[in-house]
């Protein structure tokens, strides 16, 4: 019995060590998965330009290409602060006439483009929301909660929205970085839904 016990203990330890050693691989894989997603978006965009569905001189083409390139560099490897800084850089690179509150002008400009491009830009915003939440549990949790509250159609919807506003303002005071990241991620996720639908 003692021999069996020792054997099991050694096996458990070796599996635990293997699991710890694979932790860095997991992080790398998460980064690669996100980078692959942006690669796919960029390739699809270039193919659309090759098929003359969009002009390579189009501002949206240039913006999406530049954004995907920036995200390929950083996806999965950035800390929350760095990811936020990247997002702000991307926001500032929006063509001047498409800038405005809540991306309304940008979405309207995209909606005038071919449907395939709209879907592609929607996918890009989904990927950006994922990039923001990927490395931080609290931001991920905040985004999932907001999504769950938005999709609730019961009587609880209004009280939950009020509760969400209280939590939002508390989070802004306690951790502005996390709160900002959640609001960006929510905005991107909503834009993605709007464009893909």
């Amino acid at each position: 019995m003692i021999a069996l016990f020792v054997a099991l203990f050694v096996l458990a330890m070796s599996v635990a060590i293997q699991s710890v050693l694979l932790r860095s691989h997991r992080r790398l894989l998460t980064a690669q998965e996100q980078a692959f997603r942006f690669h796919a978006i960029r390739d699809e965009l270039e193919l659309m330009a090759v098929n003359k569905e969009i002009s390579p001189n189009d501002q949206v083409f240039e913006f999406v290409r530049w954004t995907t390139n920036v995200c390929i560099q950083g996806a999965g490897k950035l800390t929350l602060r760095e990811a936020l800084r990247t997002v702000k850089t991307i926001e500032s690179s929006l063509p001047a006439e498409m800038r405005g509150s809540d991306h309304g002008r940008f979405v309207k400009a995209i909606e005038r483009r071919p449907e395939s491009l709209q879907k592609l830009v929607g996918e890009m915003f989904f990927a950006m929301a994922t990039m923001l939440v990927a490395n931080d549990f609290w931001v991920r949790f905040g985004l999932h909660c907001a999504k769950a509250i938005n999709t609730t159609n019961s009587m609880l919807h209004k009280p939950l929205l009020k509760f969400q506003r209280i939590v939002d303002s508390a989070a802004t005071l306690l951790s502005p970085t996390h709160s900002e990241a959640v609001s960006y991620a929510r905005e991107y996720s909503e834009m993605g839904h709007r464009l893909v639908a």
Partner: protein, 88 residues
């Protein structure tokens, strides 16, 4: 007596081994899915680009299989009763 003494510890150890093994297995599955998916996507992308540059080219799925090549070779073999070499 032995079961009472070591049973819970052995149970916990087995549960831990199963849990960790599953975690490793899931990671390897994720790895396989991510990389094979990317290779597949890249090859499709390359194919679509080449289609655009060179026009549609025959794909490997249209190539004859080994069985078909063998059958064709057998069909084309001269029958033994024919005098192929032209000898006596």
């Amino acid at each position: 007596m032995l079961l009472k003494q070591y049973g819970p510890v052995v149970g916990v150890l087995i549960a831990f081994i199963v849990w960790q093994s599953r975690k490793i297995d899931q990671l390897l599955d994720r790895h396989e899915k991510a990389y094979s998916g990317e290779i597949e996507r890249m090859s499709q992308h390359m194919g679509r680009l080449l289609d655009h540059v060179l026009g549609p080219l025959p794909s490997s799925t249209e190539a004859p299989t080994m069985g078909e090549i063998r059958a064709r070779a057998t069909r084309e073999l001269p029958s033994p009763d024919k005098n192929v070499g032209g000898g006596k």
